[in-house]
Symmetry: C5
Subunit: 340 residues, 5 copies
C-alpha cells in the first residue's frame, strides 16, 4: 500500500530539465521541445527528454511530439501507478518507484515513495519524475562518457535508468537490515518490549513500501530477457537479466526480513509474557515476606487475657526474631527458585 | 464471503431504465423493448439496454430478444454470483460486484456488495443492476460524447462499464488506507487496545468484501488481452489491460493492508500484554508501599508487656517517621525501575 | 480430514433403488438388473441405475454388467475416497462427497460426510450412495420432465447429479456464514470468550469437512470443460463450467470464512487478555481502597503510650473521616482512569 | 526433517532375503546371485531380488549384475534420501519411506522413518530395505497368486511394492486422526492445557514425519501416468494413478490435520489465558472477602479513647454481624458475575 | 538476508592459489597466468584456475585471458550476490554460497556466509573464493585421481565444485536438527522459557542463512538437467540432477525445521502463559493461607469491652487452633486442585 507522504514536498512545476538529441552514441545538441518530432523522424538519431512534475499541458505536448498512447499518458498524468512495464505497439511504458528516506514533522523517519514514468520508443526516451528529489543527471553523464554503449540507443538508456533506480534500493535495504539487527540485539534485553514492538512495526511499514516498489517491477523485468522480448530490449538480454537479478536479490532479502520480523514480533510477545510472569513472581515473593510478620504481629495483637507469651520478658524480641528468621528463610528460598 | 446487508434496501421493481440503439458511434433513438430484435439484426447497429432489478418476466423477454444462454440468464436471475467473465459462444456474460458504504440501523458503517450482470454480444449490451444505488447514466453520457470510441461497438461499452465500476473501488480503498493509518496512530497509545481491536476487525471485514469483488474479476480480466481473447474484445487489448492494471493495483494494496492488519493485530495483542504487565507492576509497587507501614503498625500493635519503644516519648513519631521514610525510599526506587 | 460419524447410522443393506432404461430422453421401462447388459448394448439407449450401500456381490454384478474397471470398483467398495473424477478409457468414475447436518448423542451438531460414487459410460450411469440420507429421486424426476435435455444421454445425467450435490452445499455454507456472523456479534461482548472460542473451533471443524468435499471436486471439475475433455462431457462444456463456477464460489467463500476465523481467534485471544487486564485493574483498585483504611487503622492500633490523637475527643471520627475521604478520592480517581 | 531414531534397532547385516526368477508371470526358481546376469539376459524372464540392509560389497555385486548407475547405488548405500523416483536411461530408481510406530526408551511413542530403495529395469526389480521391520513377503505371495498381473513384468512389481508401502501409511494416518480427536475432546476441559500442548506438539512432530514421506513421493508418482511416462510404467497408468490418488488423499488429510493443529494450538493458548483470567478473578474475589472483615477489625482495634461502639454491650456481635453480612453480599455478587 | 559477519576475517589479498592445464583428464602442468590464453586456445585442453579474494587487477587480467562478460566480472568483483547460475553465451557464471560456523567476539556462535563465484567455459574453469576458509584442494585432488571423469572437461569440474559445496551444507543442517531436538527436549521443562525462546530465535536466524544459500541455488540447478540445458552441462544430466536432489533434500529439511520452529515458538508462548498461570495460582493459595489467620487475629485484636472469648482461659489456644486448622484444610484443598 502506498504511504501518503506526511511531509510537505516542495513542488516546482514546469521544470523541463533537459531535452537532448543523440547520434551514434554522441550528443548532438540540446534542442527545444518544438524540434523533437523533427529529430525523432531521423533514422539514426534519438532524443532523450527528462521532465520533473510536468503540467498537463507539457505532458500533452510530449504525447503529441512522440505519439504516445492515451492510456499511458493518462497513467503518467495521474501518477500513483503500481510499478509495471507495458508494451504499446513498438514502444514501452514503464512505471518505477523510487524510495527515499524522509522525516515527518513529528520527527519520525519514514519512507516516501516517488514515481518515475518512462516512455521508450525506437528513437526516444521520455522520463517523467514525480515526488522524488534526485534526478538522472548522473545517468546521463555516465551514458555520455560511454558512447560505445549509448549507441545501442533508447534501449540502453532505458536499462541505465532502471539500473540507477534499482541501485538506489540497496542502501535502503541495508538500512533495514541494520535496523533489524539492532532490534534483534535489544529483543532479549529486559524492559525494552515497548520500544521493540514499535520499532518492529515501523520497520514492517517501511519494508512494505520497498516491497511494493520491488516486487511488481521484478515480475515485469523478468519479461525483458529470455523468450520473446520487446523489440527495444532485443540484444540487451544480459543487461536486463542483471537488473532482474538485483531486484530478485532485494526481493529475497525483503522476504527474509519479513519472515524474521514475524518471528521477532512473536518472540517479543513471548518476552512480554515472560516479563509479566517475572513481575508476578516478584510480587508474590515480596507479598509473602511482608505478610508473614504482619500475621505474626496480628496474633500477638490479640486481646486475649490469657496469652502467656505476652508476659515473657523476651516475648517481644523473640517474636521479632521469629519474623526476621522466617523472612530470611523465605528470601533465600525465593532467590533459589529465581522468583527474586 | 458475501455479507448479507443489514440495511433495508428500497426496491423499485421493474425499472427499465434505458434502451437505446446506436449506429456508427451515435445514438439513433430510444427504442421500445419490442423493437430490440429488429435493431439487433441490422449489421451496423447496436443496442444498449440497462435494467435495474428486473422481474423474471422482463429478464425472460430480454433473453428471448437477445438470444441469451439459459445458464447465464439463470445466474442473472438469482444474483449472488462471484465476479466472473464467461464466454457463451460469441457472446460474453460478466458478473461484477459494486462495493458501497452503508450504515446499519445500529449506526455502524459497513460495506455492501451489489452486483452488475452484463451480457455482451456483437451488437448488444445488456446490463442488469442488483442491490446498488448508482447507475451508469454517466458512462452512457461520456460514451455518447465520444463517438469515435463508441463506434468500436459493444466491446467498448463493456470496457466503459468495467472501467467505471473498477474506478469506484478506489475511494473505498483509499478510505481503508486512511482507516488503517488512523488505527496505526492509535495502536501505541495506552488504553486504546479495545477500540483498536474492534477497528482492526471491522477493517478486516470490509477488506474481505472488497477482496471478494476484486480478486476474481482481476483473474477474469487477465484473459481479455494478450493471447487468445474473446472476439468482442479484439483490438481493445490495451483498454482491458488498463482495467486489469487497475484491478491489480487494488489487489496489491489489499494484500498490503491485509498483511499490515495481521501484524497490527499481533502488535495490539502485545500492547495489551504490555499494558497488563504495567498494571501488575503498579499494583505490586503500591501494594508494597501500603503493606510496609501496615506491617510496622502491626508490630507496634502487639500486646507484649515488655516493649520498651512503646514507652518512649518519641516512639510514636519515630515509628511514623520510619514508615514514611521506607515508603519514600520505595516510591523513588519503583519510579527508577519504571514500575510507577 | 474425514470426521468419523459419531452418530449411529441406520443401514439398510441391499436397497437397489432403481434401474431404468431411457431412449431419446424418455423413460422406456424399469428393468431388472439381469437385463442391463442387453439394454446397454443397444445403440440409442442408456441405463441409469442407482444403488444405496450395496453389498459387495451387488457391486460385482454391476461391474460385470457394465464392464467397470477393477480399481474403480475397489474404490466404490471401500468408500472413504477423496472427491475425484477419473477417466478409465471412455468411461468416467467420479467420487463426490455429500455434507449433511447431524446431531451427536451428546446433542452437539456436526457435519457428516457421505459419499456418492458415479460410474458413467457412453450409455449407462451407475450411482452408488454411501452414508447419506437423501437420494436422487428429485434429479430423476426433473430429468424425466425435460426430455430435450435428457436425450443428451449419460453426460447430462452426470451433470444433473453433480449439480444436485453441489447445490446441497449452499445451505450448509449459508449456515456457516450465519454462524460466523453470530460469533462476530458476540466477540466484543465481555465474558463470552469461552463460548466464542468453542464456537470458533467447532465452526472451523465444520468448515474443514466442507472444504474437503469442495476443493478436490472443484479441481477435478475444471478438467471437464475447455481444452481436452472426456468424450462423455463433450458439447456440455457450459453446463460443467456452471458446476465449476458454483464450486469456485463455495471455495472462495470457504477461504473467506477461514481467513476471518483465524483473525477472529486472534481477536478473541486479545479480548481474553484485555478481560484479564481489566480484572487485574479492578483487583488493584479495590485492593487499594481496602488497604488504605486498614493501614490507617493499624497505625492507631499501635500501643505507644504517647499518641496524642488517641486522647482527642474527635480522634476516632476524624480517623474514620480520613479513611472515607481517601477512599472516595481513590474511588473517583480509579473511575477516571477506567480501572473501575 | 528426518527424526533420528532414539531406539536401538536390531541390525542383521547381510540378510539376502530372496532372489527369484519369473517367466510369464510364474516363478521359475530361487536362484543364486551369481546367476542373476544370466537370467536377466533372457528376453522373457525377469528377476526380483530383495535385500535387507546389505553390506557395501553385496550392493556392489548387485550393481554389477544389473548394471546399476553409480549415483543411484551411492544413494542406496548411504540411505537417508528424500522420497523420489528418478530415471536412469531405461531404468528407474525409487526411494520410498516407510513410517512405523516405535517406543523410545523413555516410554514415549514416536514415528520411525525407514527407507526402501527400489531399482527397476526392463527385466529386474531390486529392493533394498533400510531401518524397517516388515518386508515384502506378502507382496511377493500376492503377486505369485496373480500370474495374469505378474506377467506385466517389473513394472507391475514396482506398482505392487509402492501400493504396499502406501497402504501402510493409512493406519498411521488413522492413528493421528484419532489422536487429534482425543485432544479436541480435551481441549475445552479445564486444567488440561499442559497435557494438551504436549500432545499437540508430539502430534505435529509425527505428522511431519509422515508428510516428509508422502509429499515428495506424491509429486514423483504424478509423473508415472498421463503425458510422457517412463517406459517401464507404460500401459499401467491406471494403477499408478491409483497409487497417486491414495497419496493425494493422505496428503490432503495431513494438510487438514496440520491446519487444525495450528488452530488447536492457538485455541489452547486462549484456554490457558482464559484459565489464568479465571484464577485472577477468584483471587480477587476471595481477597475482597477476606480483606473487608480485616479492615473492619482493624478499625475496632484502634486505641482511641473515645470510641462509643466499643462500650456497647452488642458492639462485638454487631461488628461480626456486619463482617458476615458484607461477606455474604460479596460472595453472592461475585457468584453472580461468575468470578466465583 | 545476508548476515554481515561480526567477526574479523583475516584477508590475504592476491593469493592466486593454483592455475593448472589439463589434457584428456590428466594434469599437463602448473602454468603462469600469462600462458592461460595460449592453453585455452588449444582444442583438447582446459585450464582450471582458483583465486582467493583477488584484487580488482587480478580479476581484470582473468577477464581478459578468458574473455569473461563484463556484468559477470562486476558481480564477482562486488561479491554479495544471491546464489545463481547464469548463461553468458556458451559460458556459465555461477554464484554459490558457503555456510560456515563462526564465533562472535561475544562468544556466540553464528553462521557466516561466504561466496564462490565460478566462471565455466568450454575449456576453462575459474573459481573465485570470497570470505570462506576452506578451498577446493580436495576437489582438485579427487578429480585428478579420476581421469576418466575429469576428461569430461570443464562441465565435470563445475559439477565437482557444486557437489563439494553442497555436501558442506549437510553437517550444518545436521547441527540444526540436533539443536532443534535439544530445544524440543527443553521446551516442556519448567523455567526454561527464556533460554528456549533465545535458542529458537538464534536457530531461526541460522536457518535463514542456510535457506538463502540453498533455495536460489536449487532453483538454478533445476535448469541444468532435463529439457534444454547449457552446452557445458550436456551429457552430465544425471550428475546435476544428483546435486539438485541433495539441494532439494536440504530444502525440505529446512522447511520442516522452519515449520516446527514456528510451532515451537507458539508452544513456548503457551508454556510461558501456563507458567504464569501457575505462579498466580500459587500466589493466590499462599495469600489465602496467610490472610485467614491475619483476619482472625484482627478480630480478636478488636477493643470491644464485651468480647467473652477474650476472657476464656482457652481462648488464645482455641483461636490459634482455628487458624491452624483452617490453614491445614486450605493447604490440602489447594494441593488437591493443583494450585500448590
Amino acid at each position: 500500500m502506498m504511504r501518503r507522504p506526511h511531509v510537505a514536498f516542495p513542488v516546482h512545476h514546469s521544470m523541463l530539465i533537459t531535452c537532448v538529441a543523440y547520434q551514434n552514441g554522441r550528443k548532438l545538441a540540446d534542442i527545444p521541445t518544438e524540434d523533437i518530432s523533427e529529430y525523432v523522424s531521423r533514422q539514426d538519431c534519438f532524443v532523450w527528454v527528462a521532465l520533473f512534475e510536468p503540467t498537463p499541458e507539457e505532458l500533452d505536448e510530449m504525447a503529441e511530439e512522440f505519439g504516445l498512447h492515451e492510456l499511458a499518458v493518462d497513467d503518467a498524468r495521474h501518477g500513483h501507478q503500481r510499478p509495471k512495464i507495458e508494451e504499446y505497439g513498438d514502444s514501452l511504458f514503464a512505471v518505477l518507484h523510487t524510495v527515499e528516506h524522509a522525516t515527518t514533522p513529528a520527527g519520525d523517519e519514514e519512507l516516501l515513495s516517488g514515481e518515475i514514468d518512462v516512455f521508450v520508443g525506437r528513437n526516444y526516451v521520455l522520463s517523467v519524475r514525480h515526488r522524488t528529489q534526485s534526478g538522472f543527471a548522473a545517468v546521463r553523464a555516465r551514458a555520455e562518457r560511454e558512447p560505445e554503449l549509448l549507441q545501442h540507443g533508447s534501449g540502453f538508456v532505458f536499462y541505465a535508468l532502471m539500473d540507477n533506480i534499482v541501485d538506489r534500493y540497496f542502501p535502503i535495504l541495508d538500512g533495514m537490515e541494520t535496523e533489524l539487527e539492532e532490534i534483534e540485539e535489544q529483543i532479549f534485553v529486559r524492559n525494552t518490549a515497548r520500544s521493540n514492538i514499535e520499532a518492529l512495526y515501523a520497520l514492517k511499514q517501511k519494508l512494505m513500501v520497498l516491497k511494493h516498489a520491488v516486487d511488481p517491477l521484478m515480475e515485469a523485468t523478468g519479461r525483458l530477457y529470455g523468450g520473446r522480448v520487446p523489440q527495444i530490449c532485443a540484444g540487451m538480454g544480459e543487461y536486463f537479466r542483471d537488473v532482474y537479478d538485483h531486484l530478485h536479490r532485494i526481493h529475497l532479502a525483503i522476504e527474509g526480513i519479513r519472515d524474521m520480523l514475524t518471528t521477532a514480533i512473536q518472540v517479543n510477545l513471548g518476552m512480554i509474557s515472560l516479563g509479566e510472569s517475572e513481575v508476578t513472581k516478584k510480587l508474590a515473593a515480596w507479598a509473602a515476606i511482608i505478610a508473614v510478620p504482619t500475621m505474626v504481629a496480628g496474633i500477638y495483637g490479640m486481646n486475649f487475657k490469657n496469652m502467656p507469651e505476652l508476659d515473657w520478658a523476651w516475648g517481644y524480641p523473640a517474636a521479632v526474631a521469629v519474623m526476621v528468621l522466617v523472612d530470611v528463610w523465605l528470601y533465600f528460598n525465593f532467590k533459589k527458585v529465581k522468583w527474586l
